[in-house]
Structure formats: C-alpha cells, structure tokens
C-alpha cells in the first residue's frame, strides 16, 4: 500500500455538483441541498419533511382528493415519457383482493442521465415520503425502489435512509399511529439499460432477465408478481410531498402550461460545470447553459441532445431558441425526455458521436425482438465501416432504412430510441457523414 493515500480525492464523490437558485428559484426535489447534511432525516424534517404524510394519515384524506391535487399540479412522468402522473394513478384498481405494489424506477442508464442519483444520495427521505403518500393513495402495501447497480455507494445511502425512516415510524406497520401499513425496500439492477423500461424492471425485481413484457396488460393490472402495480420515476415521487404541502396549483404555477413544476436537468459533455440543475419548467436553454458555466474552453456550441440519446439531436441555433419544457422542445422537433442534456462543442465529430451511441444500443438491446436485435447490429456495423474509411454513399440511405424498420416494430421503446439518433444525426449533419465517406476521415478533425 502506497503512502500517498490522500492523493485520491474521494470527497469529490460526495460534493454536490448541483448548482441552482440563480434567481431565487424554488427548489422542490433537491431542497435539502441548501443544508449541511442534506441526506439526514433531521435535515428533512427541519425543512417540513414528512408533514404532508402526517397530515394525510391523521386526517384520513380521501384518495380521490390526493389524485385530484396531483392532476392539478400538472406533474408529468419525469422518467422520459412525460405521462401525467395523476392520470396514471387513477388507472390503479381501487378494490383488489390482495397485495398491490408500488415501484420506483431509479434505473438510470441512458447516456447523459444522472438526476435520480442525486435525489437518492442527497434527498432520500423526500423520495420515501413521496412513495409512502402514493402507497396510501393507491392502497399499495409493499414498495420497491429499483436502483441501478452501478451506484452502489448511493444504494447504501438509500437503504440506510429506509431503516432510519422505519425506526422513526414513517414506514412499516401503523405508520404514525394510523392504520396505514407500507413496507418499502431497496432492490438493485446489475448492468442492463433495458431495465429502465418498466415491465423489464418488473421482470428484474422478480429475479428474471430484464426483457420487456408485451402490453397490455399494463402494470396497473398485472405488475410485480402478477399484482396491480404503479411504477413512477424517482423525480416524480419526490415531487409529491411538495405538491401536497403547497397545493397542486402552486406546483403548476412554478412551470408553464402543460409542464408543471421544476425539473432536474442533467447537463454533461462540453460545459464548464457539468452537473444537475433544478430549474423551473420553461426556462430558456441559454439560461441553463449559463448556469452550467457555458460551453467549455470558450468554444462554440455545436449541438445538444436535449433529453438523452432517445431524443433527436438539435443543432446549436435550434436549441438556443428553445425553452426547456415538454411543449417548447416538441415545438423545436425534439423532446424533453428525462432532461438529460448532452452538450457538444464545435470540435465534436458527429460521425464518431453517433458511432458510440449506436454501439450502446447494439450492446443494450435485450435481444427479444428481431428488428431491434438485428437492426441495432446492422446500424453499428455500417457506421463502424464509415468510421474505418470503408463507407459507401448508399450507406446513409441504408442507415435510414434500417432505422425506420426498427422503430415501431418492437415490444418496447428501445427500438425507437435506437433509431432516433441515427435519423436525427444524419438529418442535421449529413454533410459531415458525406465528407467522412468521401475522404475516409473526419471533417471536423481535418480542419
């Protein structure tokens, strides 16, 4: 063992890389970050934590009233699909003779997505409270938070928070002296992007390989162990306590029409200060970029993938004019996704960037559906030959054709996710691909 132990800066891991509050913004999901020990139960209670749960179980608030409040808030699923959370909750059968389940999807693994990790390690109790409120509302007796295995240290933080919450009477039997019972457990993945798909995640909880189920039936009728199950994203559940403390309308007012609340944006790639930023929905992209310190090394912005690679890439001028909310980005012909912004500067070779992304989807396709299993391999091999100087001009049409034959022909959305970067990169940066094919080398790197 060397003596230079201090040479390894492990503190960087637990230092918040989250910056926000530029203009006195209201923090929702990362509100504990203003405090010294953000993850502790004490901190959370000091900030009003568990008060919403306490009020609900004491006053025996009607489930329908809670769902109405969540609908009013305009909260939409933060995992990427943007489905209204209140509406999803109303799909759960009210009466069911047996155990109903609640699942939290903390299986981040789409490149550029790392927001739920910061909730888990900096504000675990708000997530626990949000899940407990959801369980009360939906009549779920047991819950699982499925956390991807790569963030093991954060998994342990969350599991410790669960024990703390149980000891304090916020979980388990007769919560806060009421007759409401809810057991919540941490479970983990171990390296499979596909488990972020909710039915693959359910298979994984059951101890199986994570291959998506055919739908319908949806999890609300046939989920974990075949029982009614509600699945939401980490950030969605974490927004719930705030909504019930301040009212659905107050949450809606933080954002813009059809996009209520604040949102965590994970900013990575070519910026000075990568990290998570909690800002109001509808924030202009250029303000977010400014928060992240701007494009690094004083370089010019080239392109941004706004919501993870399953959302279309946007050239600089398009993203600079966009606002960060569901409609703002869909008007700009992309999508908010999970708010995972991958920023690329002028030195980025788009052919090589797509090469890497196509390898990811090829590697992570679960192999169940032929168009995806074979198609992602085709796409990767064709881009690989372009990068190795063996591309042909017809390859661009071939890539488009193969991608169009994956999208819409698979059980889950990974097919679309794999096709989207191919189609959008070629659409916006076609001359770079043509140059690479003609010259056998990168246009950007040749300049």
């Amino acid at each position: 063992m060397a003596t230079s132990k201090s040479a390894v800066d492990k503190t960087a891991l637990h230092k918040p890389v989250v910056m926000t509050d530029l203009k006195g913004q209201t923090l929702v999901t990362l509100r504990t970050l203003t405090e010294e020990n953000p993850a502790s139960l004490e901190t959370y209670i000091k900030l009003g934590g568990y008060s919403a749960l306490k009020r609900i179980v004491t006053e025996k608030t009607k489930a329908t009233d809670i769902i109405t409040e969540v609908k009013t808030s305009g909260l939409r699923g933060r995992g990427g699909a943007g489905f209204p959370t209140g509406l999803k909750w109303s799909f759960m059968p009210r009466y069911f003779d047996g155990v109903k389940y609640l699942v939290c999807n903390s299986d981040e693994g789409e490149p550029g997505t790392f927001k739920d990790r910061d909730i888990i390690r900096y504000n675990p109790h708000q997530l626990i409270e949000g899940m407990a409120i959801a369980a009360y509302t939906l009549g779920a007796r047991v819950g699982y938070n499925y956390i991807h295995g790569e963030i093991w240290q954060d998994y342990e933080i969350f599991e410790a928070a669960l024990h703390e919450a149980k000891a304090a009477g916020y979980l388990g039997e007769n919560i806060l002296g009421s007759n409401f019972n809810f057991d919540l457990y941490a479970v983990h993945g171990y390296g499979a992007y596909i488990c972020g798909e909710e039915t693959a995640l359910i298979e994984s909880i059951e101890g199986k390989k994570g291959q998506p189920r055919f739908k319908p039936p949806f999890p609300a009728s046939y989920g974990v162990f075949g029982k009614p199950t509600n699945v939401n994203n980490t950030e969605s559940y974490t927004s719930i306590p705030w909504i019930l403390e301040h009212g659905g309308q107050a949450f809606a007012d933080l954002g813009v029409p059809n996009s209520g609340g604040t949102k965590l944006f994970s900013v990575s790639g070519h910026v000075e200060k990568p990290g998570n930023y909690e800002v109001k929905m509808g924030t202009p992209f250029n303000e977010l970029l400014e928060l992240a310190g701007g494009v690094w090394k004083g370089r010019k912005l080239k392109a941004v993938i706004p919501g993870g690679p399953s959302t279309p890439v946007m050239p600089a001028e398009a993203i600079m004019a966009a606002t960060m909310d569901y409609e703002g980005l869909s008007k700009a012909r992309s999508s908010l996704g999970a708010g995972s912004m991958i920023v690329m500067d002028e030195t980025t070779c788009m052919v090589k960037a797509l090469h890497r992304l196509s390898y990811f989807f090829y590697e992570e396709s679960c192999g169940q559906c032929t168009p995806c299993r074979e198609g992602t391999g085709w796409v990767y091999r064709v881009i690989d030959r372009i990068v190795n100087g063996k591309g042909k001009m017809e390859d661009l049409d071939l890539l488009t054709d193969v991608s169009n034959n994956i999208a819409g022909r698979t059980i889950c959305a990974l097919g679309e996710a794999a096709a989207t970067p191919v189609l959008s990169f070629i659409k916006h940066f076609r001359p770079e691909f043509e140059y690479y094919i003609q010259h056998g080398k990168s246009m950007v790197e040749s300049q």
Binding site: M1, A2, S4, K5, A7, V8, D9, K10, A12, L13, V17, E108, G109, E110, P111, G112, T113, F114, D116, R117, H148, G149, E150, I151, W152, Q153, Y185, V187, H188, G189, G191, A192, Y193, S204, I205, E206, G207, K208, K209, G210, F225, S266, V267, S268, G269, H270, P274, N276, P309, S340, I342, V343, M344, T348, A353, R356, L357, F360, E363, E364
Partner: protein, 157 residues
C-alpha cells in the same frame, strides 16, 4: 457450499419478497457470492439456484444477462471504465489508453500477476462526473485525470 456470511446476507434480501418468491432474491444473491468469491463459476451459480429453489438455467440466464456479473475470473481489482458519449466527450479515450499502457492489458484481460482487469462499461448514470470508472463494481471514481488514475492504481497495488 455457500458461506454462512453469504447465507445471512441472502436471507436478509429474502425478507423483501413474499415467501413463495425466493427467486426474486437472485440478483442480490449473485452479487453477494460474486463479491465474496471474485467471480461466478458454474458451481457458484448452481449453489445459489439450489438455495433459492429455482432452476439452474434461470439463475444462469440472469447471471449472463446483466453485465456486472463476471462469469470468468477478473483478478483482484476489476476496473470498469465508461466510454459512452458523455465520458467520450470529456476524453475518456485518453484515460483508457493510459490505463491500457500502464497495466499492459487490453479490455477483458487480466494482468499476469492476477491483480487488475480492465473492462469497458456502458453508461453508469453518473455522467456529470465524467470521465469515470468503477473498481470492483462498488467504488466510483469521477472527474478522472491521468494523475488521478495513477494515484488510484498506486493505492491498490
């Protein structure tokens, strides 16, 4: 045979599921045994399957589906480095090349002394700290530089 320590940990995981759903604990059981033994041999997987009263093939399916399980020896320290887009944009290639040269191995190879193995990982969901790597599936090292990598390797030696 599974060690008493491993059984104790697996039993804790079993408390999270209904009594008739022992298979649900297989993800944890594979992790627990791999952490103890370094990797998962066929025999290890068989022992886990028997303990959870599930078909061996079903346990093998899980072990081979998820990429953090190792079905062959990986040396004392498995270093998994992410090369996905956010890491690539922040020069993970430089870190990869440095590690390959320093350890004298390519991806999926173990150093002759059995100490280090280098793996290419897919996105680990920590892209704000890019470039980054894992040691033995648990210790995450972020904001890597060549100097920082040297210090980490030195400490492990």
């Amino acid at each position: 045979m599974l060690s008493p320590q491993a059984i104790e940990k697996i039993d804790y995981e079993l408390t999270k599921y209904p009594a008739d759903q022992r298979q649900a604990a297989v993800m944890s059981a594979l992790r627990i045994v791999q952490t103890e033994r370094g990797w998962l041999s066929k025999e290890s997987i068989t022992e886990i399957a028997q303990y959870l009263r599930m078909p061996e093939i079903a346990a093998m399916e899980v072990a081979s589906f998820y990429n953090m399980y190792d079905l062959s020896p990986v040396g004392k320290y498995k270093i998994t480095i992410c090369t996905n887009i956010s890491c690539m944009l922040r020069d993970s290639d430089e870190i990869v090349n440095h590690l390959k040269a320093k350890l004298g191995v390519g991806f999926n190879e173990v150093t002759p002394d059995g100490k280090f193995c280098l793996k290419e990982g897919e996105c680990m969901g920590c892209c704000g700290g890019a470039p980054l790597m894992h040691v033995n599936n648990t210790d995450m090292h972020e904001f890597l530089t060549v100097e920082k990598v040297d210090a980490i390797i030195e400490e492990l030696k």
